[in-house]
Symmetry: C2
DNA sequence: CGCGACGTTGATTTGCCTCAACGATTGTGG
DNA sequence: CCACAATCGTTGAGGCAAATCAACGTCGCG
């Protein structure tokens, strides 16, 4: 169960067997069916979840009540409302499974213990933050400077796995276009 | 010179006089006139800059060579290409002063020393990352779910200082609209 | 002074949205 | 195991928000 997450953290920091064992002892395993809410707007996010397997979306609702996808998470990604988690503040975000998923959860108290006892883990989480930041930055640029069709093509190249597993209208939402328009883009591309 | 930055870090972590002094000894002060490049695409970002005073933009170029503003920085903000800085990878980003500015620079070697010697600083930088992440997240949501006019009004409320100091066409770029259209929005708003 | 950077305004175009109707597939309770 | 409802994707018609293009005014500054 811990194989994947240990492989992940070892890519970020040099850790011995004992340190890994301590880390693993803090994690809470959880299996959830698809369409399960891990977080709803109005509550406080008390976990950072490592996805062992499965597929998860996080999103906000706009004024019409339509989902705006913030991130997709699949195997070997973390998902959380980072702000709400760290500041124990009310979240505006929904986090919901798209597939049956197996997670390893870290709660705030455990994370603090972990960082106190093994400061090397700071780097693991800093890299996680940086990765998110880089991906958000690309999206901001894309939404401003790139046409809907090119955003879609870039997405296909960058996340081939996700594009096969996630319903098309969610991808449209992630890319900032209507589901109908994405469908038309695909039709146009298929004709060539 | 160190007054502002020390106030800033004390908000994030509990530090004594010696720790602050050591921190300050690692910083490099730099004064630069406006329209100075601190970073150009193609090079590696070797600083995280705390802005003592002044105003700075970071941006990417789209395929037409037009600036797409990523962030504005003013007093008490950090500015850097975080990815390039930490991974010592080639940046795609430009960082350029808008006003004469006074900076305190931290280079990668110094930052590592600092974190090694005083791990409490981890939190300072983690909060910096989180703040950036939260602001990027809002922008992604805004660009997808909010009209140009409302994005502008939100910007005015959230960054009143910046909106008074930065040329209008840069704000338009930040908000993801053409300068002409922002001008029309302002004309429309003024009529009421 | 004259030039470049900046903002405005109007005419025209367009990329994308909205709405609506319609299959196809999946899932589910009776 | 079927019937019916969701869920999902497609297609077309029409509309609108914002982009583009172009011309012009204004300031600050070398």
């Amino acid at each position: 169960m811990f194989e994947e997450i240990n492989k992940y953290v070892l890519k970020c920091a040099d850790l011995n067997v004992d340190e890994l064992a301590y880390f693993n002892s803090l994690l809470i395993s959880k299996k959830v069916p698809k369409k399960t809410f891990l977080l709803k707007a109005g509550s406080i996010c008390d976990f950072e979840a490592f996805i062992v397997h499965g597929c998860i979306k996080s999103y906000l609702l706009d004024q019409n009540g339509t989902e705006v996808i913030l991130t997709f998470g699949i195997e070997n990604w973390w998902i959380s409302d980072i702000t709400s988690f760290h500041e124990q503040s009310m979240s505006q975000m929904y986090i919901e499974t798209i597939e049956d998923s197996e997670l390893l959860l870290l709660n705030p108290a455990s994370k603090n213990q972990l960082l106190e006892k093994i400061p090397k883990f700071e780097k693991v989480f800093r890299l996680m933050l940086q990765r998110h930041l880089a991906s958000y930055q690309e999206r901001i640029f894309g939404n401003i400077a790139i046409s809907a069709q090119d955003r879609y093509l870039t997405f296909l190249k960058k996340y081939p796995t996700i594009s096969q597993r996630v319903p098309q209208h969610l991808i449209a939402s992630y890319l900032g276009m209507s589901p109908e328009f994405l469908s038309k883009i695909r039709a146009r591309l298929a004709k060539k």
